[in-house]
């Protein structure tokens, strides 16, 4: 079993900044051996098991525009959240050099999780500085799924698609 999962986040920065939303402008992909749901969308659900290391990596689709992960915050499960909700931060133009998000690596070990429970997180990205440069997205999630279950789910969805 592969012990590392990479979650790659591709961001269309120019479009996100002009539309002032991350909705439909973020594409998330992972290489989880357990499987995943909604690959290529901002609703990515990564199946994982405790003990695995997950690493989030962000890429700007246009190489010359800056983007970095500012925060990844898990959301309490009892809270009702609309998917892909956009949050604006008006104080975003005060960025101290020591807060440089470029120097942060977002990686961690999956702790004990409830089987079949979805852990949604809020992904906050920083694109340059100025107004609307910090935007958040509620939608991606982690899911503890026994690998057999994940495999079964994948095959059933494939059959349904056929």
């Amino acid at each position: 079993m592969q012990n590392k999962i990479n979650i790659n986040i591709a961001v269309d920065v120019a479009k996100a900044l002009s539309e002032k939303t991350l909705l439909n402008n973020v594409y998330m992909m992972d290489n989880s051996a357990c499987g995943s749901k909604n690959q290529g969308t901002e609703q990515l659900c990564t199946f994982c098991i405790p003990g695995q290391t997950i690493r989030w990596i962000v890429y700007a689709i246009d190489l010359q525009t800056p983007v970095a992960i500012k925060d990844i915050a898990f959301i309490a499960s009892d809270r009702q959240i609309k998917p892909a909700q956009m949050k604006e931060n008006s104080d975003s133009n005060t960025v101290l050099p020591e807060d440089n998000p470029d120097l942060k690596i977002w990686t961690g070990i999956v702790p004990y999780m409830l089987l079949g429970h979805t852990y949604q997180y809020r992904l906050t990205l920083q694109m340059g500085n100025g107004f609307n440069s910090v935007m958040s997205l509620n939608g991606p999630a982690l899911l503890y799924c026994g690998c057999a279950t994940a495999y079964k789910k994948q095959t059933t969805t494939k059959i349904e698609q056929l």
């Binding site: 942060k104 990686t107 852990y119």
Partner: protein
Amino acid sequence: MSQEITIIVLVDIQAAIETKSLKGNIYLMDNLRTDGSTGEGTGQLITAIDGSYWCDGSQCCDVVMNWLITGIGSLPITLPHNYYHTRSKHIEHEWIQSIKNAHLGKNTAKKETNFDTTIIEKIGTYSKLRTTPNKVMDIEIKSLNIFGEHFDSSQNTKSILNLLPPQISDITGSAVDNKVLFPAQYGTPVPIKDGWYWSATVDTSKTGLHNYTLHITLYDFVDEVWTPVELTYDAQIKVSNNPVRNGFTNAGLGLIPLMY
């Protein structure tokens, strides 16, 4: 992780040619203000370059820099490669058409003048470029004004002449000599700078302030001949070397903070 750095170099070509210096006539800006670049939009840009290292001391970030140079008030660099050529062809086509019309009697007013002969003289003549002090060659494009129309020096003032775009011809200086900056010219399918641009990689382990020199070629329009004017300008990069941290723990690897 740092993204690619792009430095936009804006040159006030006419003023630089007149004063024979780029000082005060050049404006530089990059995309790293969040990382601490200073002097954005002035001639004193210091580009902040984030080198970074892992906890074991190894380098984890290499940086790529690009320079895009353009003239203030010139035709935009985003125009297609062949814009000058297609415009020149189009202008000739228009002239030929107007001669035809004049001969067919559609344009009687111009038939009276020496319109035909002046135009006929111009058809097939192109701008000239001085390659060495004694040598001049055709460059198969016509002189255009800032609206993309033919520039006629006998009728128009020089202020609306579209000066040929400036070019970076080399990048040298102490940063290159000390093997901090490794510059080279690359080809690109992107429709900028005739498909060529200058790029460099940076050895981010060498921290501190480093100087480099941009060699810029401008083209002056002297007696209907484009004459190169070679100028240089000094710019700086500031390489910092910081340790990377885990975003969740602010230190090393830990558990993902799930909410239960």
